[in-house]
Each structure stands twice: as C-alpha cells, then as structure tokens.
Amino acid sequence: MDFELSDEQTLLKDSVDRFVQENYSPEARLKLTETDLGFSRDHWKTMAELGWLGMPFSEEVGGFGGSPVDTMIMMESMGRGLVLEPFFSTVILGGALVAEAGSEAQVEEIIPTLIEGNLMLAFAYAETQSRFNLNDVETTATKSGDGYVLSGHKIVVYHGDTADKIIVSARTGGESRDEAGISLFVVDRDADGVDIRGYKTVDGQRAADIRFENVKVGANALLGTEGEAFPIIDKVVDRAIAALCAEAVGAMTAANEITNEYLKTRKQFGIPIGKFQVLQHRMVDMYMEAEQSKSMSDMAAMKLCFDDVVEARKAVSATKAQVGKAAKFVGQQAVQLHGGMGMTDEYSIGHYFKRLSTLEMLFGNTDYHLNRFSAAS
C-alpha cells in the first residue's frame, strides 16, 4: 500500500503541469471561453501529439494502457488550470464507452482516430426527468429493418455541439427506470433528425440540448448487446466521476494557493488580512477540505484498479460526496476571502468557483452520492 507516484507517473504529471503553465494563464483561458468553439484545436492537437488522448486505451488500439491512477494524475493537473479541451467528454466518457461496449470493428473504427485527435465524442445521457439517475431513460430506440429509429430529448450534453459523434443511451426495452433494456448507440452529429442546440455553460465550457426525431441508424450503430448497456454505463461513469473528482482537487488546490497568496498581500487596517485569526481559520478549513479530497481522490483511483463493482461504487460515491462538499466550500470561501476582487470576471478566482460548482453537480451532487453510498454500504 502506498500513495507515491512512480517515475513514469511523475513524468506524466510534469508534462501536463507544463502544458497548463504554458497555455492556461487566466487571460488566455478567458479568451478561449469567448470563442465559438470554446477551446483550442491547437491545444487538442498538442494533446494528441503528447499521447494524452490514448492514455486509458489498450496498446492494441494504439493507446498506452493507462490505469485510473494515470487518469487521476492528468485530470488533477488539468483542473489546476481549468482546461477547456474536451479530454473528459471524448476520452474518459465517450472513448471509454466505445472501448468497453463496442465490437472489435467499432473500436477499430473510432478509437485510433480519436487518439490521433481527429474525432471528438460526447455522451448524451441526461433527460429532463432523469436528473442524475443513469437508468431513468425515456429516449427510445425502436427496431426498424436492420437498424433502429431513435427518438427523444437529451439535455446538457457537455461538448455536445462540438463532438463529431454522439453516444446516446436509449431504451430498447423495459420500463422507464429499469436498468435492463438500455442500449448505447453511436450517432453522427449530422445524421437526419438530430437537432443540436449548443450553448455556453457557467463554468466556461459548452454543452447542448439534443433532440432526436426519428433518427435512423444502422445495426452497426449499436454499441454492445441490445438492452444490456447499463452495467457498462455504470462502470464507465464511476471512472468518470473519479476523474471529475481529481479535476476538482486540482481546481481546489489552485484556488487555495491563489487565496492564500491574496491573504498575504492584501492589507487592511495596516496589516495583511492573513494576520486576522478568523481568516486564518477559514483558510485552514479550506486547506483541510482540499487535503481530504485529495486523499479520497487518490483512494478512488486506486480502488478502481481492482475491478470490484460494489467496492468501486462505494469508493466513488464517498469520494464525490466529500469532493462535492469541499468544492462548494472552497469555491465559495475563496470568493469571500477575496472580497470585491472575488466578484470580478477579470480575476481568476471566480472562474474556479464556477467550475467547482458545476463539478459538485455533474454526475450527481453531494446529496445524491451520499444516498448512493449509504445504499451500497
């Protein structure tokens, strides 16, 4: 049992840290958020060249066979700079669903192109009635000839308007909240009947509501076995949640560093405000929340390496509950300790607060995961 990085992992961390340092000054990031794309294709190319897009995929398809620990390392470093490129949507979510559920032919078709940086994915799962429940699926896929016809409405699909292909969860059988009867489909963004309405999200990223109106897809659009996608979604999403928690740890660490520095430099009543005990104790509480979140994020990444579904669920939900609570606290208090400066768009701390707030919510907020943890224990 140990928590130390191997030499290779240290190199990986240094490499992502360097990328963030060189490309993600608060000003540079703010500019990117104001573009139509919402991120940089040049950065995406760099990520492909550095091999990052292939990190979790097997060596047979051109990946590096990285573990959840490697994902954690990358996401944490990206979180420090609030990186905008769709690494999470494409690699951790979409790519993993294809790799886990897809046939050999589907994997061959999608993953190598993705690793080269020439294919982006998004995962459309949430619906207006579902909130965070992954098996509350009312989008339907009806058999028609050799293929299927998809109908339904998916909401807040992160990077849904920039992805080349959308992975959609749809019901091929069962009742609306059954785990059985859910299937996964790969749909081209420009297929007939796909209506994508993209918009900005509060955290500086982009998402989309996507309507599927009698969208015809071939049998080869089905990922895996019909009606049996839920366990795969569950597994991939647990890994994805751990990745988001790592991102939050990186963002909290950075927000704390920025705030701590501000306390040392900002003067009121003739002395640095960090000399006031009430602010010192607040800062210590923020530090402790971030440290404990880091411990949980490391733990979740390591537990995911064991491939034990129940243990993974407990570890991931406990981690999301801790990280969610911490993300809200650190984000809000970081703004508070900055006073008026914390309220400005120009200064970086508000951007950390906003991303930390959505990270608390994505794939289930603190309440949701506390209940899920309780049910699994």
């Binding site: 049992m1 130390e4 992992q9 701590n260 509480d285 411990s295 064991f306 801790q322 943890f373």
Partner: protein, 398 residues
C-alpha cells in the same frame, strides 16, 4: 500508487486477528468496546500481554523495542485492534514520553525508562497545563531552582489525566524566569512518590475522576532526571505534541463506533419500523462515514509520504482536528440512537457491576460515558482552535 495488500500483509492480518481472538481478555474488551474507562488493573494486565507479544510500542525504533512494522502493517494492526475492541497502550508512556526519551534522553535514561514503559512497570502522566497556562502553554510558572545535584520544584499542574494511577510524571518547568517564555523551560522526569507531591482529584462532567490537580511543594528532583539540555524543554515539548497529534486520529476506534451504530439501528424501533429505515438518521451516519473515510485515507497518505521521506511540520494537526470532530459526532449519534435510554447515566463507581447491569438494552451501557468524556477531545492535546493556528502559521505561512 497501490492499495492492495501483499500475501505477507494478509498473513500479518491473520496473525494479529488470531492473537487478539486468543489473548484479548473478555473483561478488557467489554469495558473498552463500550466506551468506558478500562480500570488500571485490567489495562496493565492487557499491556503485559502485549509486551509479551513484543507489540507494546510498534512505532518505536526496533533497537528500543519497536516492531519494525511497515506503514501497511501498522495500519492493519490498528484496524484489527479497532475491530476487535482491543485497547491500545496508555499513550503517556509509549506515545508521549517514550519518543522524547529515546530521541533526546541520556543513555542512562534510555536504559532505565524505556524497558519500564514496555513492561508497564511505570505508569506515566503528563505535567503540562497549569491553572494559568492552557492554550498559552509556554507561559507556565511551575519553577525548578537548581540546588546542588537537584532541582527544587514548586508550582501546580492541572488537567493531569490518570495522575492517581501514575508513579511517574513528565513535567515542563521554568528554569529561567528572565528568558523569553519559550526559552526558559526544561523537561523533567519526576517520581510521583517524591515527598512534596500532592494529587487532588477533579470530577468530570462524566462524574468520573480522570482529571487531577498535581501540587509541587519543594519537591527535590535529581538533575539527572532532566531530559536534554536545560532551558531547551520547549523543543522537546513541541516534539511530543507533534507525536501526539499524529496518533490522535483514532480511525479504527471510530470505525467500530460506526459498526455499533449500524447494529443498534437494526434493533431500535421507530414508527413501526427500524431506526435503520429512518432516512434522516441513516443520512447523518453516512455523512460521518464519508468524513471518516476521508480522515482514514488522509492518515494513510501522510504515513505513506512519511515513509517516502517527507518531513511534516504541522500537517498532522489536520488528523487531530478531524479525528476528534468525528469522535464527538459519532458518540453524539450513538446517544441519539438510544432514544429515551439516552437519559440514564451513572458513574462507574456508583455501584458494583456498572459494566454489565445498567438499565436498558446492553448496548445502551457506554455511549453516554463516552459522549461526555469525549467532549474533551477537541480540547486536549492542544484545542482544535490552537491546531488551526498552528497549521495557519506552519503550513500556510500566514
């Protein structure tokens, strides 16, 4: 990064489990797992069994009697002790003064005191706080004046846990009144049977006598009983407090309380069902469980970093703050779980057989004692507010 246990680790776990199953006396287990104070005679009996096994002081260097366990093995042992309801040795000797002696003491002190800690011949208590010196410990006034080969000690200590059982006390005393507060303190080892020492009991909110006042009236202490240099005692005192903080998380004990709560929730009835079906109650428990996991893995991460060569300043204070908050929340919830039987309470000394004949269900006997006693947890070892001051200064540089 790896959380898996090796075959050697698993074998070790089995060894610890078997030892506890066969050697832990039932009366010791019963007192301890209820959350009651283990009487001295039982505690010493158990410590002698631990010593015989060579497990009295796992964290000590092997040359002084430590076990040489890896970080993982220490974790496993702590978990097994917690699960089985086995008390760890009293901290005052093994965790507090022991490390000070083997780190800063003379060869003679090491040779004499360390074996006596290991075989439980000495029961130590801690002479730190004074009536006027609580969180501001360095302002302490108990004086030691040199007279030939002795110091003559005059003054008073307070909040001295288990002083009534102790035959030895380690004391911070002022040896230079003109120096800055921190620079005139020395660290003395004092025999409690020396003439001039008086102990006065303090009864706590739990109606028990764990705390005491200790008075020193012209007490002669040989100079050879001073640890390290004169006027350098503050350094040793801080070293000791640092060790204390890192052993104070008590994760395994809290886990046992979580399990106990789950058992109680499966028995207690509410609204025609079980407490275990009460969403509000179970939600509170789940939140504590998550916080406890966060504490557990933070402790493990720190142990791992330490094993890899990292030197901490005040980071372990986090373990003290979070560990004691969790202990209090758990014992509060334990009392809450009892409903009306949360009210009956009598001190152990009030009648014979307190350990097994209290009113209400068997599991109701203990939680209130623990709940009351552990209100001190956020006060002792440096209040949690002081711990935050220390982190702020040492870690955050504020």
């Amino acid at each position: 990064m790896d959380l898996s246990f090796s075959d050697e680790d698993l074998a070790f776990k089995a060894e610890v489990r078997e030892f506890l199953e066969t050697k832990l006396p039932e009366d010791v287990r019963s007192y301890y797992s209820r959350g009651m104070h283990v009487p001295k005679e039982l505690q010493v009996r158990w410590q002698k069994i631990l010593h015989e096994q060579g497990w009295m002081a796992p964290a000590w260097p092997v040359e002084y009697g430590g076990t040489g366990w890896t970080v993982t093995q220490r974790y496993i042992a702590a978990q097994e002790f917690g699960t089985m309801g086995a008390p760890t040795p009293m901290p005052f000797g093994v965790s507090m003064v022991g490390p000070v002696i083997y780190t800063f003491g003379s060869q003679e002190q090491k040779d004499y005191y360390l074996p006596r800690i290991l075989n439980s011949e000495d029961w130590w208590c801690q002479g730190y706080s004074e009536p006027g010196s609580g969180s501001d410990l360095a302002s302490l006034q108990t004086k030691a004046v040199r007279d030939g080969d002795d110091y003559i000690v005059n003054g008073q200590k307070i909040w001295t846990s288990y002083a009534q059982h102790a035959n030895m006390i380690f004391c911070l005393v002022r040896t230079d009144s003109n120096a800055k507060a921190q620079e005139g303190i020395s660290f003395l080892l004092i025999d409690m049977n020396t003439p001039g020492i008086t102990i006065k009991p303090i009864y706590g909110i739990d109606k028990e006598n764990t705390l005491n006042e200790v008075f020193f009236d012209d007490v002669r202490v040989p100079v050879k009983n001073r640890v390290g240099e004169e006027n350098k005692g503050w350094t040793y005192a801080k070293f000791l407090l640092g060790n204390e903080r890192s052993t104070i998380a008590r994760v395994a004990q809290s886990k046992r309380r979580v399990n106990k709560l789950k058992e109680i929730a499966k028995t207690e009835r509410v609204d025609g069902g079980l407490l275990a079906d009460d969403k509000d109650f179970m939600r509170k428990l789940a939140q504590i469980e998550v916080d406890l996991m966060a504490l557990e893995y933070t402790e493990l991460r720190m142990l791992s970093q330490e094993a890899a060569g990292k030197r901490f300043t005040a980071e372990p204070s986090l373990l003290k703050i979070k560990g004691t908050e969790i202990q209090q929340r758990l014992t509060e919830l334990l009392v809450e779980s009892l409903g009306m039987y949360g009210a009956p309470y009598e001190a152990m000394g009030d009648y014979e057989g307190r350990n097994d004949t209290a009113p209400g269900p068997d599991y109701a006997n203990g939680p209130m004692a623990e709940h009351l006693y552990l209100r001190a947890a956020t006060i002792y070892g440096g209040t949690n507010e002081i711990q935050r001051n220390i982190i702020s200064k040492m870690v955050l540089g504020l």
